[in-house]
């Protein structure tokens, strides 16, 4: 059974990711301990909350260094969910300007209304439309609805990192990827069947 390290850094709601990974047949552990991260077959960075607090907590716990060693040097699969995806960027403009992990080139900016009837945050089920053929989306119909809840979004510097987009506020990037590193703006752990399929695809990498 695959050992999955779900990173704990005081930003809440790791429990639902834990339960979903468990339901998908893997062996999750919620942790910020080096030994467990070293021992994991893959790593998930969940997260709700504000970018500034999150990146500060990650650095305080030295999670960035520990995970970089596994993900950047050893190449084990990594999945960032929601804020966990945004943390992959170079920087974010949420409540000020913050430097991110910088593992996928890009910036995190606020969604902008493209018509007066559009509401922000973007909350609810919306389509995920693949830009490329990604192993993450195997068995998921293009345009399938997944669950979103966010006000900021990832703007990729390089088009090849944009694996899927979602039609809201003129369209935004909903999946990013760079080799073994992936980030999803939606919540697979809360997206029922399609979300579980994506998690299983990730666990099979």
């Amino acid at each position: 059974m695959k050992k999955v390290a779900i990173l704990e850094y005081g930003m809440g709601n790791v429990d639902s990711v834990f339960r979903a990974v468990e339901e998908c047949g893997a062996n999750p552990v919620i942790t910020c301990a080096e030994a467990e991260i070293k021992n994991a077959d893959c790593i998930i960075l969940p997260g709700v909350g504000a970018f500034g607090d999150a990146i500060q907590n990650i650095r305080q716990r030295r999670l960035d260094e520990m995970v970089a060693e596994r993900v950047l040097d050893r190449g084990i699969p990594f999945l960032g969910i929601c804020l966990g995806m945004q943390l992959l960027a170079d920087k974010s403009y949420e409540f000020g300007e913050h430097r991110g992990l910088g593992w996928i080139r890009g910036e995190v900016v606020r969604l902008q209304q493209d018509s007066p009837s559009v509401r922000i945050p973007h909350v609810g089920w919306n389509e995920v439309c693949p830009e490329v053929d990604s192993p993450l989306l195997q068995g998921i119909r293009p345009g399938k609805d997944l669950y979103f809840v966010h006000s900021y979004h990832f703007v990729c510097e390089r088009a090849e990192n944009r694996l899927a987009t979602t039609p809201y506020c003129g369209g935004f990037t909903s999946i990013v990827g760079e080799k073994n590193i992936f980030g999803v703006q939606f919540h697979p752990e809360k997206s029922q069947r399609a979300g579980f399929q994506l998690l299983r695809n990730f666990l099979a990498l």
Binding site: N13, D15, R19, E23, S117, I120, P121, W125, K190
Partner: protein, 252 residues
């Protein structure tokens, strides 16, 4: 395209789920765990769970209960009732709530909205208000499960809540609640117009057409409903079929 959400509401009181009329005359409608399992199986869009006596009894949220329920809930879950502090929010998120609804305390101390939004992000802050229409026709927010008048105007308050960082508004009409005679469309319209954040309409759904009206005339982003699902043969799935036939984007 973003789909509209149909959200069953589960009200919890004295160890079971209940449903009343006008925030009174409560009837037991079964176990919370069972309801969550059924809704999970039916893949509903999102669930709202409110502990309706926590604030009046000056109790904390029942974190253990929420932990157990959230473990069975693979859809988005909003939890409310008795939320009074940043720490309450942190603990609810920790045990698996995706969003936290803040009602009485948000009116008493709106700064809490800002604190929670800055710490955990706007996306998890649902400001929930219960509104009563006065004889004069004026709308007023009531807290403590509809028992305490505040003198606060809902339109003024939601603007302030949105400015402080609320992510969504859960808007319940007290006198429409459980009556199953339709939502208060004027109230929904006024509140939806006042803010750019999503407004979830609650209180009054009796037939599918009521949902349609709240979304179109009221301009709500989502509809919450309880009695229609507890006490009739109508289901969230059939509601979506109906809305789809009327051209509303729904998720199947």
């Amino acid at each position: 395209m973003l789909k509209v959400r149909i959200m069953p509401t589960l009200l919890y009181r004295d160890f079971e789920l209940v449903k009343g009329v006008g925030f009174d005359s409560w009837r037991g409608v079964g176990s919370a765990m069972q309801a969550i399992r059924v809704y999970n199986m039916r893949e509903v869009d999102e669930l709202i769970f409110l502990d309706i006596t926590a604030t009046r009894e000056e109790r904390d949220p029942d974190f253990e209960l929420i932990d157990d329920l959230a473990d069975e809930c693979f859809m988005p879950l909003t939890v409310g009732g008795g939320v009074r502090s940043l720490d309450d929010v942190r603990r609810l998120l920790d045990v698996g709530a995706d969003k936290v609804a803040i009602n009485s305390e948000a009116v008493r101390n709106p700064e809490l909205i800002r604190e929670v939004a800055q710490r955990f992000g706007s996306q998890c802050v649902v400001v929930s208000i219960d509104v009563r229409k006065q004889a004069s026709g004026r709308y007023e927010i009531f807290t403590h499960s509809g028992h305490r008048a505040t003198g606060v105007d809902p339109v003024v308050f939601v603007k302030e809540a949105a400015r402080l960082g609320a992510g969504e508004i859960l808007l319940t009409s007290i006198e429409r609640d459980g009556a199953m005679e339709g939502y208060d469309l004027v109230l929904i319209q006024q509140v939806s117009e006042a803010v750019d954040i999503p407004v979830i309409a609650s209180g009054g759904a009796g037939i599918y057409e009521d949902l349609y009206k709240a979304l179109t005339i009221g301009n709500a982003a989502a509809v919450a409903a309880a009695s229609i699902f507890h006490f009739t043969e109508q289901t969230p799935l059939a509601a979506k079929d109906y809305l789809y036939s009327k051209g509303i984007p729904v998720r199947f």
